[in-house]
């Protein structure tokens, strides 16, 4: 993923009409037909009837049965985290570090298995699972392992920072393993213990990670993984057994959590939605920018909180950018995510596919011009959606304001830098932004004036365990990654 955005455009020959032979990754990973809950270091059977099925979104076939944790099991998870926390925080920092290093190593060593499982359960292309999700998850554990014995340098002036205690962590379905790593690694490094709930549609890699935690002999209860839908989530949020809640997901659910937790004096990290602008100035390296735009909105089928879903192009290069974008997008290969050549896999669930489709209809109804792109026949089954962009989009249009969480780009133009910046900032969100120009002073001036937590200059969708990630405004608060991410898991 990293570095991809700066590669020059090389597709000069018309490859759109080429036919490719399938290059399938062997789906040889064993998936257990049923999964329990990971509580206190042991696997706990679901209550009778309290199970759900997780599907492969590319085929709509069931992959496995997972548990729906009930209130008593949620309590058991928090109790075991509480018991474990007393010892975990007193474990010598360097010993804590060794556990995290072990986890990082085992993720690397089981990378192929995890990548295949991630693609089967989430639908993301195997190329992305293999080259981005799994290696970055390992990097997060490796990076944070090294922090365990250096926490006195984490927050200036705080020489003896303490763990917060027991953390409730709720993660989304777009980067299932990576989000688990983002949440667990800093929490554990700082001496906290966790109850993690993966998303209902993508629980398998977090459960596989729990197996790795058993394998590396992480003390029981330090991490508990419970699965389930909104009922389980609500039981977690309303449970008195945690000191901190970290949530990644929609702004709507984030606000509900804030409301539910208002009477409590707890620590919170909210990583919520976005409607991120990607600004292309006329003096930008256009071919590089095209790659960045593509990465910005079609990476992971656009199901990325920081997706560059609003493209703002300087008027004088609008036609050139749209023409090149169209050409590039028509080369995006849509199809089986297990094929190593696939660029765009299925949407994660039927619910989300229908949501994306409803926005496509709204876009057309509100008068924007829709272009449906992508190369290849869509498979007959699975939740596929072709990458799509809209031109002639008014800034007030629904598709320019609301987070779609799908492969849908709204293209707009601007005349002056002031107009670009005011339009870019004209949103309640503030997660990320992209700026494309060859002029150094302009890039940093624009980056300074954009109200967003992460700004990519001549690039997009770059992530690293050492780089803090998180939003301004209604995109949330708190950071994940790097030194700044540790603040969220230390009492100070």
């Amino acid at each position: 993923m990293s570095g991809h955005a700066t590669l020059p455009l090389v597709a000069i020959v018309d490859t759109a009409t080429w036919t490719y032979s399938p290059a399938l990754e062997a789906a040889s990973v064993a998936v257990s037909p049923k999964h329990g809950l990971f509580i206190g270091g042991r696997w706990v059977e679901p209550r009778r009837g309290a199970t759900a099925i997780t599907l492969n979104p590319a085929t709509e076939e069931p992959l496995s049965t997972v548990a729906e944790a009930d209130a008593a099991q949620v309590t058991a998870a928090f109790d075991s985290a509480r018991t474990a926390q007393r010892r975990w925080m007193r474990t010598r920092p360097q010993e804590r570090a060794k556990y995290l290093f072990r986890i990082a190593r085992r993720i690397q060593e089981r990378a192929r298995e995890l990548a295949v499982l991630e693609t089967l359960d989430s639908g993301k292309p195997i190329r992305e699972s293999r080259e981005f999700d799994v290696p970055t998850a390992a990097q997060h554990f490796f990076h944070h392992a090294g922090w365990c014995d250096k926490l006195r340098y984490a927050i200036p002036g705080v020489s003896d920072p303490r763990p917060i205690g027991v953390c409730a962590q709720i993660i989304p379905w777009n980067f299932p393993l990576l989000m688990a790593a983002w949440k667990l690694a800093p929490a554990l490094a700082c001496g906290n213990t966790c109850v993690l709930k993966p998303a209902e549609t993508t629980p398998l890699t977090a459960l596989r990670l729990a197996e790795i935690l058993q394998e590396v002999e992480l003390p029981p209860g330090v991490v508990n993984v419970i699965t389930g839908g909104p009922t389980t989530g609500r039981a977690m949020v309303e449970h008195p057994g945690f000191d901190k809640i970290a949530f990644t997901g929609s702004t709507e659910v984030g606000k509900a959590i804030l409301r539910a937790c208002a009477t409590r004096r707890i620590s919170l990290t909210m990583e919520l939605g976005g409607k991120s602008p990607n600004i292309v100035f006329a003096d930008a390296p256009i071919d590089q920018a095209i790659e960045g735009i593509v990465d910005g909105i079609w990476f992971n089928q656009g199901q990325v909180c920081c997706a560059g879903s609003r493209l703002l192009v300087e008027e004088s290069v609008l036609d050139e950018v749209v023409a090149k974008l169209r050409a590039r997008m028509n080369r995006l290969r849509v199809g089986d995510p297990m094929d190593k050549n696939t660029d765009v896999g299925p949407i994660n669930s039927r619910v989300q596919l229908e949501r994306v489709q409803s926005y496509l209809k709204i876009g057309v109804d509100e008068g924007a011009a829709m272009e449906i792109c992508g190369n290849g026949e869509l498979p007959s089954r699975g939740y596929f959606c072709r990458p799509t962009f809209f031109t002639g989009v008014q800034p007030s249009a629904t598709i320019a304001r609301e987070e779609i969480f799908g492969p849908v780009l709204a293209v707009m133009s601007f005349r002056t830098p002031e107009e670009a910046i005011s339009r870019a900032n004209n949103t309640p969100y503030g997660l990320s932004a992209g700026v494309w120009t060859s002029k150094g002073s302009k890039i940093f001036d624009t980056a300074r004036r954009l109200k967003a937590g992460v700004i990519w200059c001549n690039g997009f969708n770059l992530f690293d365990a050492a780089s803090p990630f998180g939003g301004f405004k209604e995109s949330g608060f708190g950071r994940e990654g790097g030194r700044h991410g540790l603040r969220a898991y230390l009492s100070h």
């Binding site: 990293s2 002036g157 009477t263 937590g453 690293d464 608060f477």
Partner: protein
């Protein structure tokens, strides 16, 4: 015949001017013996809205001012207060039975806190920002940026030092502030507001509303153009403010009203800026 004293009506401070509340409401402020010593405006929802509007307008310019300039302006504010030390001490004692020495100590600590914060403006990014060594050919760095418009609410035991300790880092970091001072001991805060126009702080960067906390706090919580709240209040007022975060993801930081504002940590340290800055991370390619 003894001289009849002139009783002052303290007005609000919004956008560099001293308007009365648009609501026309006021209340009496009494001393320890129940004598009326002043009148106060009782700010309304509309006054709050007006203050938010002017604070919003003033904030970007203040954020863009150089850290050197912001530091000098805060120092200037301390200079203005230094000249009114006795008056400030008297104002703290007017509504309480505390000793002259204790009031004087609070005034001195407040002025010294401003001096400390004046020195933070051009060091904050150095100390709490940083460069991030990412695994790729990128120059990647993180800087603190002001959150926007911050409401500071003081119901602490230190009506001047508490308020100053909270507003100073907010202003130093480049935010615009609306202060709601102690309900029972607001006089020192009002004197502070009277000093601001002579301190070179641009109009609208600091605003002050006196009024009833029970009336104003729910309005602060639900106002969508307020970006952050720093409040020394008790429960359930604190819970009401935290619920307000659900409106627009306000950064809400609650401080124990019994806090020891005299201690230098955290109020003179980098932790004073918690909740008053957001961190921005910028990636730039470092390869051709």
């Amino acid at each position: 015949m003894p001289r009849l004293p002139v009783i002052k009506t303290h007005k609000l401070f919004i956008g560099g001017a001293f308007p009365r509340t648009e609501s026309g409401r006021s209340r009496e402020l009494k001393d320890g013996r129940g004598r009326t010593i002043a009148h106060l405006c009782r700010a309304s929802r509309k006054d709050l809205r007006q203050a938010v509007e002017v604070a919003h307008a003033a904030q970007p310019g203040w954020e863009r001012a150089t850290p050197y300039l912001r530091g000098q302006v805060l120092h200037r504010l301390a200079e203005m207060l230094e000249g009114r030390r006795d008056e400030l001490s008297d104002s703290l004692r007017a509504t309480s039975t505390r000793s002259a020495a204790s009031a004087r100590d609070e005034v001195i600590a407040s002025i010294d806190r401003l001096i400390s914060m004046a020195g933070w403006t051009d060091k904050l990014a150095m100390v709490i920002g940083g460069q991030n060594p990412v695994a790729g050919p990128y120059y990647n760095f993180t800087t603190p940026e002001p959150v926007g418009v911050i409401v500071v609410i003081d119901a602490s035991n230190a009506p001047l030092l508490g308020l100053v300790s909270m507003i100073a880092p907010a202003i130093a970091a480049g935010n615009a502030v609306i202060a709601i001072p102690s309900e029972s001991h607001p006089l020192a805060a009002l004197l502070l507001a009277e000093s601001v126009p002579t301190s070179d702080l641009p109009a609208g960067v600091f605003n002050l509303l006196t009024g009833e906390h029970a009336e104003l706090l729910p309005q602060v919580a639900t106002h969508r153009d307020i970006s952050g709240v720093l409040a020394a209040v008790k429960e359930p007022a604190a819970a009401g403010l935290r619920a307000g975060a659900a409106e627009n993801l306000k950064r809400v930081r609650i401080v124990d009203p019994g806090s020891d504002f005299e201690s230098d940590e955290p109020w003179s340290g980098a932790s004073a800026f918690d909740g008053l800055v957001d961190f921005k991370t910028i990636w730039h390619p470092a390869a051709t």
